[in-house]
Every structure is written in structure tokens, then in C-alpha cells.
Amino acid sequence: MCINSSRVISIENLEHTYGSNKVLHGINLSVDKGKVFGLLGKNGAGKTTTINIMMGFLKPDSGRCLIFDENSYSLSNSTIAKIALLHEGHLAYDFMNIDETEKFYQSFYKAWDKDIYAYLIKKLGLKRSHKVKNMSCGQRSQVTLAVLMAQNSDLLILDDFSMGLDAGYRRLFLDNLNDYVQKREKTVLVTTHIVQDIERFIDEAILIDKGRVITSGKISDLGAGLYGYRVDLDTDIKLLSSYKEVKDISINSRYYEVITYIKPIEADNFFDKALSKKIYYEYFDLTLEDTFIALTGKY
């Protein structure tokens, strides 16, 4: 086994099946120390299954998953203490109040950071005797984030942090996390299907769909080879959808957005040929969400 001290997560050819339903088809990914890594995919893509394997909640059918060079299915307690895990849906002991939550976790984590817990809780403006079960989704997410950060673990794994949060709380969550991660050089693996939020947060990402890797790499490279064109709404572009080079056509109140593999230099020729007429279009830069939709589809 090759030990790479800067590698925090190493996954090779991960496969898993539920009954007769194969959900992971040879996933490969690696996350180095200090990186913020995105595991992106639509609902049912296999993100949570991958996280469950990473955390030892599932044994993969085949493949290898190492966390801090330990097999994820048999992580030692000292390694588990190095991983702060945000469970999907911001799972928390909702019968506890804010104070009890801190007292409970504090006893398990030697490096517990009281200050950061107090800082995030203060922002909530709630009494320390406030029960978690009486909080809104957003408030609960702040408490779980406070617990996560106060653990002061080397690796943070956030499974679908955006679930149930409105845009404001999603932004707040990421702002707090971003600041923390940058200052303390933590490694982060985040999964989500709401990709527009994390574009400015992650360094690298892997995009999976139906358990298969679609693309991976630096965030700026994920959409490499894809180009976006805006076309007036009064143009009939139905014919474009039959071309394999066209990955997505979206419509909004002002124009169509066509995402294709056609380079701008070839776009004139392509549209002329495909639609048998001259059309007016303009090029636009793709967002991560555009790339995501183009590569995984809308359904």
C-alpha cells in the first residue's frame, strides 16, 4: 500500500449494490490535505452511499476506501475523532438544548473549541436553554455547524448541508464555514445537489450520476469543452435538441440558453446548418450549475 501523508481521502473503484440495484459503479476520488472538495450529483446519484462507505456505515461490494490511510470500514476511534461529520438533514440530538449539546460533545473531543461554539451560538440570538427540537431548520443548521467546527477535526464531511435551508441560511452556513476552513487549513468534503451555492467555496469536485463519474477536476475545469449560447425567444430552435453536441436547452423569460460542445469559432456554421437559417445568438460563460445540468440532465 502506498502511503501518501498529504492524502486524506482515497477511494478506488468503489462499487456498491442495494439488493439488485447497483448504485456505485467504480467511483474513484482522492482529496488532499487542505482542499475543499465537492462530491456533486443529483438526488439518487450515489453521494450519500459514498459518504456512508467513507464513514464505515456501509461495506462496499468492492473497491477501496481509505480515510487518513485507514480502511473506512474499520476506522479507529482516534481517526473518527479527526472527522467531523454533518449527517444529511442536519441530524442532531433534538431533545438536548444548546448547552447540553456542548457539554455532551465536549467530553468526546479533546480539542473542543468553546470560543467558536459560543461565537456561532451567539449569532443565533437564542438562549442556551433553547431546545434543538424547537428550532427552525436554519437555526438547527447553525447549531450543527457550531458542533462541527468546535470539534476542531482535521477533516469535515458535510452530507447535503443545503437540505431544508433557504438561500440566506445556505449562504450564512457557507460564509461561516469558508472563514473557518481558510483560517485553520481544514480539509472538507461536501456533497450537494444545489451546486450554485458552492461554486465559490470548493477547489475541486467530482460529478457523479447514477453511480458513475461524469467528470472531475478543478472547479474551473469541470465545464471544459462546454459552451453556452443565448438565442432570442422568437427563434425556433426545436431542431437543435436532436443534435448530440447539444447538451441542454433551457428557457427563461428573455431567451433560450443552449449549452453545447460547439466552440464559439464553429458556432455560426453549426447553427446555420442545424436550423437552416441565420440566427442571432450571443456567447455566455457557464456557471457550475449550467455545467451540472448539461452533464447530468434535468431528470
Binding site: F57, I83, H87, Y93, E100, F104, S107, F108
Partner: protein, 221 residues
């Protein structure tokens, strides 16, 4: 760490624990009032003779209270863990999962033990006001038998609540009904032989909780 798990369990089912404690004290009061009323109407010798002749256990209602307590503890302790998936959080704590599960069940078993002591002392005190020692001397032994059975019932309730698969719940339930029917043959339950059998069964049942717990940790959910 064990203390922290106990604290978590206490916070989780605090209200249930208080209700249970009040019920147990209420039953002791009930016996005090009922016995006092009975002795006002009939001569003590008549009641004593009746009890001895029928070999009856006049504090028999404690049996149901103990069993109800055990089932309530098992259900209320583990149902939130399963429904709200809190057990996942517990499973990610930097603590051996066997020790974590053992800490959870030991909390309730300790509570049942505390109840045994409280109930035995209370009913012993109440009985000492109305009966000669020969009659109430059997209290600790009978109570201890009910305690052992309640520990067993607590384990059963916990296992069935924590078990994630309905098919397995049914299989375990059938197996348990068989065992309980087998041991529930004596009326007075004071025979040392039966006490030893039930103790052995309780000891055997304790590790069974690891079957659903470890599968929860290691992957059927």
C-alpha cells in the same frame, strides 16, 4: 464517555423516568391505603390466614408495573434513535460502538435496579405495618424475579425497536415469545431454580442487542 452517554439518555427520556418513578410510588401508596382499609374491615388474622392458605402475593400489581416500565424504557429510549436516525450520530462518536451500546442499555438497567430497590424498600415498609415478617419476607425474592424478567423485557423491547428490518423484528419476536412462554411456568416465581434460569436467560439476552446495533452501525440502514 460512559457518563456522557448516560447523561444523553437521561436528557432524552427524563420525562418518562419521572412519570415511571411517580407510578411506582403511587402503587406503594395504593397498597398502603388498600391494606389499611382492608385491616379496618377484617381482623388481621383472617387476612394473614387467607394469604398463607392461598399462598397469594398481595403486592402482585407490581409485576405489571415492572413489566410496563421495562417496555416503556426500551421503546422510548430507542424509538427516537431509529425514527430520527440519532443512532447514526451516536455511531460516529469516537467511542467503541460496543461500549456505546452497552452504555445506553446499562443506563436503563441501572434505572430498573434503582426502581427495584425503591419498590422493595417501600413495599417492605408498608408490609411491615400490617403483616408478620414470615409473610412479607418473600418480597425481595419475588421482586428480584420480576426485576430479572423486566430486564429481559427491556432487552426485548430495545432489540425490537432498534432492529431496522421488519422481517427480523418478526423472527426475533417469535423466538422471544417462545423463550418467555418457556420460563413463565411458575405462578409464584420464588423458586431459586427459576431465579437462576431467568438470570441465565437475562445474561444471554444482553449481547443480542449488538445484533441490530452493530448492523445499524455497519450497514443495513
Amino acid at each position: 464517555m460512559i457518563k456522557s452517554i448516560w447523561l444523553k439518555e437521561y436528557i432524552k427520556i427524563k420525562k418518562i423516568l419521572i412519570i415511571i418513578l411517580l407510578i411506582h410510588i403511587a402503587v406503594a401508596l395504593y397498597y398502603f391505603i388498600t391494606l389499611r382499609g382492608g385491616f379496618e374491615m377484617v381482623t388481621p388474622v383472617q387476612i394473614w390466614s387467607d394469604i398463607i392458605a392461598k399462598n397469594s402475593i398481595y403486592f402482585y400489581r407490581y409485576e405489571v408495573v415492572f413489566y410496563g416500565t421495562a417496555i416503556a424504557l426500551g421503546v422510548f429510549q430507542f424509538l427516537p434513535e431509529v425514527i430520527k436516525r440519532c443512532f447514526r450520530i451516536s455511531c460516529h462518536l469516537p467511542m467503541n460502538e460496543y461500549l456505546m451500546t452497552a452504555s445506553m442499555i446499562s443506563f436503563s438497567i441501572l434505572f430498573l435496579t434503582l426502581l427495584l430497590v425503591i419498590d422493595t424498600v417501600l413495599i417492605f415498609l408498608v408490609s411491615s405495618l400490617f403483616f408478620p415478617y414470615d409473610i412479607y419476607s418473600l418480597i425481595p425474592k419475588v421482586m428480584f424475579y420480576w426485576y430479572l424478567e423486566s430486564v429481559l423485557l427491556y432487552m426485548i423491547a430495545s432489540i425490537l425497536t432498534l432492529e431496522p428490518l421488519w422481517k427480523n423484528k418478526i423472527k426475533i419476536a417469535i423466538l422471544i415469545v417462545g423463550i418467555v412462554t418457556l420460563i413463565n411456568v411458575t405462578v409464584y416465581k420464588t423458586d431459586t431454580y427459576y431465579l437462576l434460569i431467568i438470570m441465565a436467560i437475562v445474561m444471554i439476552s444482553l449481547p443480542i442487542i449488538y445484533y441490530p446495533a452493530i448492523r445499524f452501525r455497519k450497514g443495513v440502514m
